[in-house]
């Protein structure tokens, strides 16, 4: 660059376009905003919280990582199968012990650790299991584990009926039912008929004991469980001929031959919140009462919050169906490796007129996208919009953003801007874009950093990372919408007065106090539509579809497009304010 001259020299270069001038206004505005002391303080505080969040992501055992999968399809990563056919199903004398061998195969593409355990089905089981084992298995390899199971002499007092139950691949399955006053555990599938089994039992002989091998999970989680099902019976309950139905599940299709009872194990990882539902359909010709039970295996010592939504007993008309929802929250405990949740439904005790109930088990979030979206939605926008992140953003808006136009009005700088080759529209665009950019380090950037951190600690390969890019897009889009809304409000309020404090208080109140105002007004007027005043609630609801979470009108009582319309209305009102100030009132006069 040449040094200064003492004389005035004409400019020989070329002038930039309109876009260039607006860009310079934008960049200069951003820099000036970010250089303010208040902005620097807020950025430092915000960064501190982001850093804490990232550390938490990194050190959480099992992780709050992206693929914190709550259910894993059977065989998706690990497969546990009996080493021999006799390990699958064994006749055992009461009071004796057996040894069962299993092959644990790692079907994933990286090494993993599997905990293979024999889990007794209920507190009625008092037998001893030795051999719970944690083993490391290389990708594509397998190892054998052995369990020794002691069957106590007095075991086996329960009342049950059972029939053929098998997976499509032929493996035996299990089921159980409630009958009379006694709790029924389960009975393994047997190639023998129930009548034969009962006869064996009555004769004091050995009764069948079967092993069911349900699903296994992510190698990172390292949990595999085996359900040991043991049973005898005291009497034979008559039953109707069975029918075979297909039951759609989220895993491999199971073909059940079921009379009236269904059990399903759901594997839930720690620190997981999820919603599930069970749909029961009466496919018979008469009405039936259905009981739904949800419980978890008490031996796993896992605090689980389960709340069935709706009455546990429901009468279902012929050909009708009923959906039960329930929530699970496993909390975050260091040694919590997961939980088995058992869903049980039946059509009442004893013989029933209901010939069949078709039971669908499905998750509320069927796809990985939805699970992933839910996690980040909760992290970024959940909890009434994550306060610590939202607070910095609103404070930045209230302190720095509020002065955006009002300082120029106060300093009479607007006349100078507008005497340049800039229209008032250019001025507003440049200033707004400048604020928009200045807000990114305190809003969008931390969110993207959290996404990157989550990916980094999730052990995903490149293909899997690419599969999550939609989430990055959703995060960015949600913040762009937020910033657009907030900048609109800030610019409008800032253009109203030459005192920035008015705009600051207005911005702060609008975004942080609207919830309180909405609550108070609803308490007074008892009008549900007053929820629309709650900006934070509107934003939260509006972003659900972006994160692959179904919009829940129950939260606000309006369809999603109403929230969008309200938001659009706010932006339009802001635009009208600016037009009035700059075009009609000639603010630079």
């Amino acid at each position: 660059m040449k040094g200064p001259t003492k004389d005035y020299r004409p400019f020989k270069g070329s002038y930039g376009s309109r876009g260039y001038r607006v860009l310079r206004l934008t960049l200069n505005t951003s820099v000036q905003l970010l250089k303010r002391t208040s902005s620097i303080v807020l950025l430092v505080l915000s960064s501190l919280f982001v850093f804490i969040n990232i550390i938490a992501l990194a050190i959480t055992p099992g992780g709050m990582s992206l693929d914190d999968i709550d259910t894993v399809e059977a065989g998706a990563y690990f497969e546990v199968r009996p080493a021999a056919e006799e390990d699958l199903y064994r006749m055992v004398e009461l009071g004796s012990a057996i040894e069962l061998n299993y092959i644990v195969s790692n079907k994933g593409n990286r090494p993993g650790e599997a905990l293979v355990a024999v889990v007794p089905p209920s507190q009625y089981w008092t037998g001893e299991v030795k051999g719970s084992s944690t083993i490391e298995v290389e990708a594509g390899s397998h190892k054998q584990v052995t369990f020794e199971i002691t069957v106590p002499p007095d075991q086996g007092r329960f009342d049950s009926v059972s029939e053929e139950l098998r997976f499509e691949d032929g493996r035996p399955g299990m089921y159980s039912r409630r009958s009379g006053e006694q709790f029924v555990t389960a009975v393994a599938a047997s190639t023998e008929s129930l009548e034969d089994l009962y006869a064996t039992y009555q004769d004091g002989g050995a009764v069948p004991m079967g092993i069911d091998i349900p699903s296994y999970t992510d190698p990172r989680m390292g949990v595999a469980s085996t359900m040991l099902v043991l049973g005898t019976r005291e009497k034979v309950i008559s039953y109707d001929p069975l029918e075979t139905i297909d039951v759609p599940v989220s895993g491999p299709n199971l073909t059940f031959t079921v009379k009236d009872t269904f059990i399903r194990t759901i594997k839930v990882k720690q620190n997981t919140y999820m919603e599930r539902s069970v749909t029961v359909r009466n496919v018979g010709g008469t009405d039936a009462t259905v009981h739904l039970s949800i419980y978890y295996n008490p031996l796993q010592y896992t605090p689980v919050y389960m709340e069935p939504i709706g009455p546990p007993n429901e009468r279902i008309g012929a050909g009708q169906s009923r959906e039960w929802m329930f929530m699970l929250n496993t909390g975050q405990y260091p040694f919590n490796k997961g939980v088995n949740v058992i869903v049980l439904a039946d059509n009442g005790s004893g013989p029933s007129n209901v010939t069949m109930l078709e039971i669908e088990y499905h998750t509320r979030s069927k796809s990985d996208n939805e699970k992933l979206g839910r996690q980040y939605y909760d992290m970024l926008w959940g909890g009434g919009i994550r306060f610590e992140r939202f607070l910095w953003l609103v404070l930045f808006m209230a302190i720095s953003g509020a002065a955006l136009i009002s300082d120029d009005i106060k300093n009479n700088s607007i006349a100078l801007y507008l005497s340049r080759p800039l229209s008032w529209v250019d001025y507003i665009l440049g200033k707004s874009a400048g604020l928009f950019i200045a807000l990114i380090p305190i809003s969008l950037l931390p969110a993207v950093l959290l996404y990157i951190t989550g990916i980094a600690f999730s052990n995903r390969d490149l293909g899997e990372v690419i599969d999550t890019l939609w989430l990055l897009g959703s995060i960015i889009l949600s913040y762009l919408i937020t910033l657009f809304l907030m900048v609109s409000v800030s610019v409008a309020l800032s253009s109203v007065s030459k005192k920035w404090i008015y705009a600051g208080v207005g911005t702060f109140s609008l975004f942080l106090f609207s919830s309180i105002i909405s609550t108070i007004l609803r308490a007074i007027f008892d009008q549900e539509w007053l929820k629309l005043i709650d900006l934070r609630l509107l934003m939260k609801l509006m972003y659900r579809p972006l994160f692959a979470i179904p919009y829940d009108p129950g939260g606000i009582g309006f369809e999603w497009y109403v929230t969008v319309l309200v938001m659009a209305g706010i932006v339009m009102a802001c635009a009208a304010t600016v037009v009035f100030r700059f075009h009609h009132r000639e603010v630079a006069r």
Partner: protein, 317 residues
């Protein structure tokens, strides 16, 4: 002799600013009243008392205020064309404080250069040059809020010329400056127009400033242009007699009135307004009155005289 309100000379289309029945209302206040002005390229003083409409005229032609009716052209660009094109060629020194106090002068002037379309490097270089030109030295790295009024005015001038405009509009640029600073500012403005050939419109109510800098003058009052023309032409074509007498001043006043002259009396001094030779009619009228004319000289009008004559109330206010 130039008629009041007559258009100045200059070729059509070659003026810095032309207005056509330009009016501006602020509510019920008529700030501009069908103003017809042709402001030539050169150094033009825009004179008028406070509230005369000077700033409104400037802001209107800059596009900062929309005219209620009428139109204008600036640097041969009609008002309907893109304002950006016009503003690229115009520099503006507002009357009010307009600086960004937190910025240093260099950053501020560079910023304004960029907003005018200068590339970043050129803008930085031009900022250094014009700040040096207006006399802001190492102070350019200090925040503007630490500057004296005079320095701030210089920074305002620097930002107005950083993009090398054809026309510089200065609205009260010497307001609040001390005599030394004021003289420096006037020298700068005169250098800009006389040495570097920039057209300027110099709005002020300080008549000596206009006399020092400008070649042309345009006087406004109550939203109207009451006089416009070349300064030399105006002051040479209209003149008066300065007369000092010995004798009865009241009688002399009556004689002047009887002869149809307008005059101002201050003790034994009389300023008699006339553009013709007064003495051939005055001496015969004084015969027998005992009044002696001790001094009589024909003198041209000053700008102040013009101003006082044309502005209602003499420009007070």
């Amino acid at each position: 002799m130039l008629r009041d309100g007559a258009l100045m000379d200059g070729k059509v289309g070659n003026n810095a600013v032309e207005t056509y029945s330009l009016s501006k209302l602020y509510g019920s206040i008529q700030a501009l009243n069908s103003v017809e002005a042709k402001i030539p390229k050169g150094a033009v003083g825009l004179l008028g008392p406070n509230g005369a409409g000077k700033s409104t005229l400037i802001k209107t032609v800059l596009g900062l205020a929309r005219p209620t009716s009428g139109s204008f052209s600036i640097l041969n660009e009609p008002s309907g064309t893109g304002k950006a094109t016009i503003r690229q060629k115009v520099g503006y020194v507002p009357e009010a404080d307009c600086l960004i106090p937190e910025l240093d002068a260099l950053a501020y002037v560079r910023y304004m250069g960029e907003l005018s379309g200068l590339p970043p490097m050129d803008s930085m270089q031009r900022a250094h040059e014009v700040l040096h030109y207006v006399g802001i030295g190492e102070e350019r790295y200090r925040p503007i809020k630490t500057y004296s009024t005079g320095m701030q005015q210089k920074v305002k001038l620097a930002q107005a010329i950083v993009h090398d405009p054809e026309l510089v509009i200065l609205d009260e640029p010497t307001n609040g400056m001390d005599p030394k600073g004021r003289q420096e500012m006037l020298d700068l403005v005169r250098d800009i127009t006389r040495t570097h050939g920039k057209a300027i419109i110099f709005s002020t109510h300080l008549l000596p400033d206009v006399e020092y800098v400008c070649d042309h003058v345009l006087i406004m009052d109550q939203g109207n242009i009451v006089l416009q023309g070349g300064l030399k032409e105006l002051t040479s074509q209209m003149d008066h007699y300065d007369i000092r007498i010995k004798g009865d001043g009241k009688v002399f006043s009556k004689i002047l009135s009887r002869l149809g002259f307008k005059f101002e009396k201050s003790g034994s001094f009389f300023k008699v307004r006339t553009d013709s030779d007064i003495l051939p009619v005055l001496y015969p009228a004084l015969k027998g009155t005992g009044i002696q004319v001790r001094h009589a000289s024909r003198t041209g009008l000053t700008l102040e005289d013009l101003f006082m004559m044309k502005v209602k109330g003499g420009g007070t206010g």
